[in-house]
Each structure stands twice: as C-alpha cells, then as structure tokens.
C-alpha cells in the first residue's frame, strides 16, 4: 500500500519537474541565448557556447556617443513625450467616460480600439502616406503621433476603469462640504485614481519604448529608436549589438512590470467592463 503511494508520488514529482523545466526553458531559453550573445566576442557554428567571451560590445554600446546611446536617448525622449500627451488626453476622457452618461459611449470606446482591430501593417502604411503629406515622416513628432494612437486605447480603457473604481459618493461628500468640482477632482478623485493612472503611464511608456512596426514605417531610417536599431543590427548579422539592445529594452520593461503589478489592482481590472 505504502509502496503504491510512494511510487505515485515519485511519478508525480518527476512529471512536475519535467513540466516546470520545459516551461522554464521556454521562458528563459531565448533570454539566456540573448544574454550569451551579448557577451560573445567569437561564436562560430556549430559550437554550443561562444569561443570567446568579453565585455567588448557592452563597452562600445554604452560608451559616450555610440549609436546605441543615441538611440536610447531618442527612445526615452519619445516615450516620455508620448506618456505626457496620452495622459493629458486619457485623464479627462477616462473621467468623462467613467462618470457621465455620454451618448454613444460604447461606440466611442470601440472607435478607440479600431487601430488595434485591423492588421497592423496596412494601418501603418496608411498612416505613413497621410503623414507624408504633412511632412511628418522621418520626424520625432511623426513617431510620437504613431505611438500616441497605439497607446491611447489602452490608456483610456485603464483610466476609465480607474475612475470607475472610485465610488461617486466620495466626490459627493466633498461637494456637500462646499468643494468646487475642480477641487473635488484634484483633492479627492485624482489622488484616489493615481495608482491606476501610474499603471497606465507605465504601460504607455513600455509600449512606446518597444514599438517597432509603426516607427519603422513612419520614422525609419531618420528616427533610429532602439527597436529600429536592433532590427538594423540583427539584419546586418551583428547579433552582439542586437542582443545588447534587446537586454537594454528588457530592463525597463521588467522593472515596470514589477511596479505595475503593485499598482494595477483587481478593482481596476473588474472596472473594465464599461
């Protein structure tokens, strides 16, 4: 009897170990490969591990005015501008959608979803041709505009949910004591919605930092953001630079994901049903 349970336990443990290892490999594998490549100074096929390992590519990438650093700055500047613009639009929009009975509310939200619903390439090619008319192609404002369009939908949905999760009675209590609408918004509503707004901003920041397709059609080759540079590098079989950039791009995303998990409360997610 005991033998049977013991062998069952053994079987289960082995199966679990295999499953976890496979899942782990699927997640960590590609990342580990990238990490290896970024340190490989010589790595010829069919060797399993690099022949020479060193910091050469990291050093050149991170030194003063390298192309990687330039791209990093452009990416960061674009991301920050995008976050500011998107927040300025989605906070009032999200508040209005959460609090007021706007006619066509659902349709409005679906319209914001539109650019995501169609295949990305035709949308971006169309954008590029429109932007061409207004001399926006190959400019930072052009790239910012593309990123804003892409992230606005997430941002509006998350901010709407954040405002919705705040009971209206908290605002009424403040009005009742004599506060103007503006004061109620800045003293009560905004502070309470802040975790959701921060989560939304983080989301937008990462989306902008990682965005490739739209930037490629509207910005390249003049605006070299990090993802564009990574693409160029890997196309030129410069796997080391591409790997360094990939890791640079992963760091803020990882950091923010940890923060995001803290800020994005279950209430907001449940508030998403409009």
């Amino acid at each position: 009897m005991q033998d049977v349970t013991q062998s069952n336990w053994l079987k289960r443990t082995i199966l679990r170990t295999i499953a976890i290892t496979l899942i782990g490999l699927a997640i960590v594998g590609p990342l580990a490969g990238t990490l290896l490549w970024s340190f490989a100074e010589k790595w010829y096929w069919p060797s399993v591990l690099p022949q020479e390992i060193g910091l050469k590519y990291w050093r050149t990438s991170l030194s003063g005015r390298s192309q990687v650093m330039d791209s990093l700055w452009i990416s960061l500047v674009i991301a920050v501008i995008v976050v500011v613009i998107v927040t300025l639009v989605s906070v009032p929009a999200g508040y209005a959608l959460a609090r007021y009975n706007i006619p066509w509310k659902r349709i409005l939200l679906v319209i914001f979803l539109m650019p995501q619903a169609f295949p990305q390439l035709p949308v971006f090619i169309n954008m590029a041709s429109i932007f061409y008319r207004y001399n926006l192609v190959g400019t930072i404002p052009g790239v910012v505009a593309v990123h804003v369009v892409i992230s606005l939908v997430y941002s509006i949905w998350i901010t709407t949910a954040a405002f919705k999760s705040i009971p209206a009675v908290l605002e009424e209590a403040a009005i009742n004591l004599g506060a103007s609408r503006l004061r109620v918004f800045f003293r009560i509503t905004l502070p309470l919605a802040m975790p959701g707004l921060i989560a939304s901003s983080i989301f937008v920041f990462i989306t902008s930092l990682d965005e490739f397709t739209g930037t490629f059609f509207v910005g390249a080759p003049f605006i070299q953001t990090l993802p564009i540079l990574m693409y160029t590098a890997s196309m030129g079989y410069n796997m080391q630079y591409a790997s360094v950039i990939a890791i640079l791009l992963t760091i803020p995303a990882l950091l923010f994901m940890v923060l995001l998990e803290r800020f994005l409360k279950a209430e907001y997610i449940s508030g998403l049903g409009v």
Partner: protein
Amino acid sequence: MATLKIKGLTKTYGQLKALDDVDLTIEEGSLAAVLGPSGSGKSTLVRAIAGFVVPDCGEIYLGDRNITHERPERRNTAMVFQSYALWPHMTVEQNIAFGLRLKKKSPEEIEEKIKWALELVDLPGLEKRLPTQLSGGQQQRVALARALVVDPEILLLDEPLSNLDAKIRYRLRFEIKKLQKLLNITTIYITHDQEEALSIADSVVLLKDGRVMQAGSPQDIYSRPRNSFVAEFLGASNVITAKTLEDESGLYTLLGGTRLPVPDDKKEGDAVSVIFRADEVELSTEIPAGTEDRYVLRGTLHDQMYLGSRWRYEVLTPEGYSLLVDYDKSIPTHSEICLCISRERLYIY
C-alpha cells in the same frame, strides 16, 4: 440652524415617481426621521435637499432661503452617508479638516475644531489614523464629526447606522440624539427601521412610493396610524380582511361574531382591513364577556416562539385567520384560548 420647508417636491425617473408632491416642514432644532421601505423615495428626498437630485418641480426652503436651485456645494447642508464616504487617502484629521479648509479657517482654529469634534464623537487620539484602520462604528463617528465640524444649517443622515451591528447601532442611536440636542441642529434622519425612527425622532415622516403617508410625533403615528400601510409598517402584524355589511342601523363588519364599526367611506360589500398588534392583545384561557369597547376572538394555539421576556403565539381562529399574539406566560400548544382586544387598539380601514 434653520427650519426646513418642502413644498410640492416631485421627482420622476422614467415611469417611476420617486417623490410625489411631498410637503414637509421640519422645525428648527428638531430631529425628523424619514421612514419608509426601500424604494419609497427617502434617499431621493435627502439627496434633493443636499442638491444631488434636481427635482422636477416643487421648492425647498432652508430658513427663508430658497435653495431649490442652489448648487450643492453652496447649500450649507452636511450629509452623513450610509457607506460613511470617508476619503481613504486622508487621515481622520485630514478628513475632518477638509470642510474647514474650504472655509478658509486659520490653522489654529482648524486644529481646535478637530479636537472639539473628535471629543464630541468620543474619538480623541485617533487623529493620525486612516479610515481603513478604524472599525465601522468609529468610521461612522468620524463621518459625523466631519459633518458637524462645518456648522451646517441642516444635518442629513442617510441610513447612518444600517451597516453596523445591533449593539453598536443602539449605542450610536442615542449618541446621535444627544449630540443633536446638544448642538440644537435641524436634522433629517433617514431609516427603514421603525423602532429606530420612533426612538430617536421628534417627528416621523412615513413615505411610500414617494408619497407622505403620515407625518407626526412618534406617539401620534404609532397609536393613530392613518391607513393600513402605516399601521402595518409600524409593526401591526395582524391583518384580518372582512366584508362591509349593512343593516338598518348602518354599516358594520363582523369580527369573531362581534359587530365592528367601519369607516364612513365604505360601501356595502367593500373589503375592510382590521389590524392590531401582537403585543396589544390580552390572552386568556377563560372566555371573558365581550363588552362595548372590548372584542373577543376565540382560537387555538398553533405554534409558539420564545422571545426572552415573553412568548409569541400563533393562534388559529375558527374563521381561518392566523394571528400573532404576545403573552408573558407559557401555555401548552393546542390549548383553546380567547383574545381580547380593546376597541382603541383595533385599526379599521
């Protein structure tokens, strides 16, 4: 502090009449309980006074000021919400100071007022706590302090105790009453609990479907309910439906073989409700004589429930009525008994 006058207040939501021509006067410094079942419009009434509901027609006067179209932030009402509505990102102190800061009081005065308010609601020393660190009863006290500290002309309490457990509810009920008398502040107290309304109020307003069913002193409304709804809502649980009869001496109805007068507006054949309370019946095992002002019903004890200080019996009468009767002695089930009800305890509609 001011007298509140409401004239012809009406509010419709689609087909639903939340308030239907409500007239109401609440005297300066008095506490009025607005009582009614859920959906009777009592919350709409208090929200209309606070300015969160715009009435279709009618007028609201606070003192001699017509506030019907005043913005809610200018009305100088203070409301305590059922959910307390304390701001979770502010400490107790900040919550209470909010209204004072809006009135541009000096920091010294604010500090003094916070201290005064917290002592008033018996919560000294909790200034730095966050609302989530307080119990429900404490949160309700903070909400009360936040409302009282701004010297409102009228205090609106929207089911302030309904989220608390019974023990705390009883205590806070009397504390609210004491504070109200101490500050002499005109107060409207919304509740669905008839006992709470009767015990706390100077006057009670009973609402149903947005209409005032009866308004008056607690004693008046309890002992002279104007219609069957009021009687039943105030705990008269025994309702007997009978038919109006007529003979040469006039209209009457029969209850347990005894003749009872009916209201003048009845016609022969109309249904009549005879209503009385379980604790206003005398129960005896012998058959007493029916007199002019005392009616007797026979019945069998069917079931019983022990209430602590007394028993509550379910009595079945030969006519098929099932009645509830309170008695302070234990009687075996299936006993034949008699119910005596004095005339003035029978409400006939």
